[in-house]
């Protein structure tokens, strides 16, 4: 029996109901992967071969600009999916780095296996539609906030919205997600502590 399958089935069960046969098909198409802290799951230029469900640990997807600064487009921890979606769907070279911030356990679906899954268990069309709806809404909120809120407000909202994540991340990671420098985040924290 594949490790951590219970976790992914629990998660899927929150959105669609699968019978035993459907569960069996799904599980047969999964594979596991472990990656250590600081190891890469994906680099720009690679083809993103899998959609990745995290059963344990924490990853980030990011770019590095011409000055060497990292910009984090998403964090992902237990029960989240992560990939370079465009690269995965089109099987063309990725633009993002994905690496592990902690030792991490994944369950993976390759593109051919996901395509087969959609054919054999159409309920997964619904499942991923719902996952994408939620991701779309979360991203739209982030865009709205980046447009309208100053850095201090964005920081406060981040720690309020993702308290568990905040515990596990360095300030450097958080600042690369918020779109400010680590220096400025440190200044904000001092200012806020003084209140």
């Amino acid at each position: 029996m594949l490790k951590n399958v219970d976790k992914i089935l629990d998660n899927i069960g929150k959105h669609v109901q699968l019978n035993e046969k459907e569960k069996g098909i799904f599980i047969s198409l999964l594979q596991t992967k472990s990656i250590k802290r600081k190891e890469f799951l994906l680099k720009p230029g690679d083809i993103c071969r899998t959609e990745n469900f995290i059963t344990q640990g924490c990853l980030r997807a990011y770019t590095v600009d011409e000055n060497g600064f990292e910009h984090i487009v998403m964090f992902a921890m237990e029960d989240w999916w992560i990939s370079d979606l465009y690269s995965f769907l089109t099987q063309t070279p990725a633009t993002f780095f994905i690496d592990a911030l902690e030792d991490t356990e994944l369950l993976q679906l390759t593109k051919p296996n996901l395509d087969e899954l959609y054919q054999r268990v159409p309920k997964f069309e619904r499942f991923f539609r719902i996952i994408l709806q939620n991701a779309f809404i979360a991203q739209q909120n982030r865009i709205r906030q980046n447009l309208s809120d100053p850095a201090e407000q964005r920081y406060l909202d981040f720690i309020k919205k993702y308290p568990k994540l905040e515990q596990r991340l360095s300030q450097k990671q958080i600042s690369a997600y918020l779109g400010i420098t680590p220096v400025f985040l440190s200044m904000l924290r001092r200012k806020m502590a003084g209140k």
Copy 2:
């Protein structure tokens, strides 16, 4: 026969193949709506009753902050869908304004009708999954750009990526999408023209 049905069927046909019966079911669940320039489709506090497909015209979804500044989270024109997705899915009060930048023709699906559509024509699970994938990727690129690129670069990329949209929008609208003031956009344009 409902106006503009051919346009929406063409668009759907790019992603899934429907037979005549499925097309019939779909069409029977649609309704049309016209809105004039400057009219509102949705305001914060309203419940977003419909997903809206644009057959003609141009809309924007935006918020207004405490200082009265508008922040545009999305534009939408012909062949795009627009709604306040969270409000629509949960049928709770909206957070966005949606209004028309030009006289606009819509085809609408209410929440009950969309739910019925998913039941009766499961291919629409796939269709909206694909639409959401594309929207997710576009939003992720926008987030990445907001994090890493200065305003001038974001403006250049906007006019390159959405040349048709740029023709139809005032600089005020574009600046509210880019996250800068109209004054600063005007300065950028002068500087760029001087090159």
